[in-house]
Symmetry: C2
Subunit: 208 residues, 2 copies
């Protein structure tokens, strides 16, 4: 199992400061969508320049223009990019083809997808590398969690393709760990912690 | 009817050059998603600094984090932002609430939505300003156009809320104009034209 920190902060200096503290212990460092919409791919580029061995995911949420978007993201140095699972199959196929030509990987984000089993089967046919269930930050406000969706996804696709995101913290981590997804994504529980490095180490320990 | 140019170019200098040639005749100037993913909101900011009276749309395609994304976009100066119609209602409500607090508008992009009538009714209840049918660039490759979707949308919501996008050029413009949507969006037919100003003037003339 891998731990991914989703850094939903838009300040590039702060993103780099966070990376400095955990680059040697975090499995995947995610530049969140808020940073990309505000700053573009510049934080990804700066992060890869400074830490070339760090696995960086750009939460690009591509939904159209698959080839051009994937090309730009690959050229920024990102190791993994995200595409929305509800995008048209043509778009997903273009993102996968382009990313793979650069030796990069693609995670399909199932946010707002109802038919997890059906869509996941199609995503596998399209050559996607990872599939993630995702309860958005706005959906979390009504108490929703991705636990049920994770269960359904794990029943549908190989374990080593599965990612889960949506308000996961140290207190709720166990219920995800026992299901053994490939990637567990934590956001503010990590980046808003008073000591981010300790928070990451504690989660990594709980995932053993 | 308004004409919107969708500038799917990622080079900010080129975007500003295009704006210089047409800022006084184009109704809405769209900074496309490729520019936002690559450069962030900086092209929007630069455009509004230079042309404060130009109506600028940021094709942000928000799907989560409605409040923070909308805030960042409003602070960049954009007059209109886009949210994906596929997003959760909570997200759409947050985008609308935040944008309206700043006196800005929100266009919901129906890309990949099958149930146009049903979803549009919900979007109106959520307070959205514009609803756009949109055949993505990747979908256009198989010959798809937004003409049927436009017909369906116009049968479902008030005419002055309706936008249409998807490969529209001077040759196909008439079939959209006769349906009288509020906003007609043209992309490469305008920004790739040898003389962009003339191309815009020709389309405006054909929309009279």
């Amino acid at each position: 199992m891998k731990l991914q920190i989703a850094v939903d902060i838009t300040d590039t200096a702060r993103i780099l400061e966070i990376a400095k503290g955990i680059y040697d212990i975090i499995d995947i460092f995610e530049i969140g969508t808020p940073a990309i919409i505000k700053e573009g791919l510049s934080p990804v580029r700066k992060l890869k320049e400074k830490y070339p061995d760090l696995c960086v995911l750009a939460d690009s949420k591509i939904v159209d223009g698959g080839k051009i978007e994937a090309q730009n993201i690959c050229e920024s140095g990102a190791d993994i990019m995200t595409v929305l699972a509800f995008a048209d199959n043509t778009t997903i196929a273009e993102v996968v083809e382009t990313a793979h030509a650069y030796g990069r990987k693609v995670l399909a984000d199932l946010i707002c997808i109802k038919n997890i089993r059906g869509r996941s089967a199609e995503l596998i046919d399209l050559g996607i590398d990872y599939i993630g269930v995702h309860t958005g930050v706005d959906m979390q406000k009504s108490g929703r969690t991705p636990i049920g969706d994770l269960h359904e996804l794990l029943a549908s696709v190989p374990r080593n393709m599965v990612a889960v995101a949506g308000g996961i913290g140290i207190k709720t981590l166990h219920s995800y760990v026992i299901q053994k997804p490939e990637i567990i994504i934590a956001g503010s529980a990590l980046y808003s912690a008073p000591d981010i490095r300790t928070a990451v180490l504690n989660m990594k320990e709980a995932m053993k």
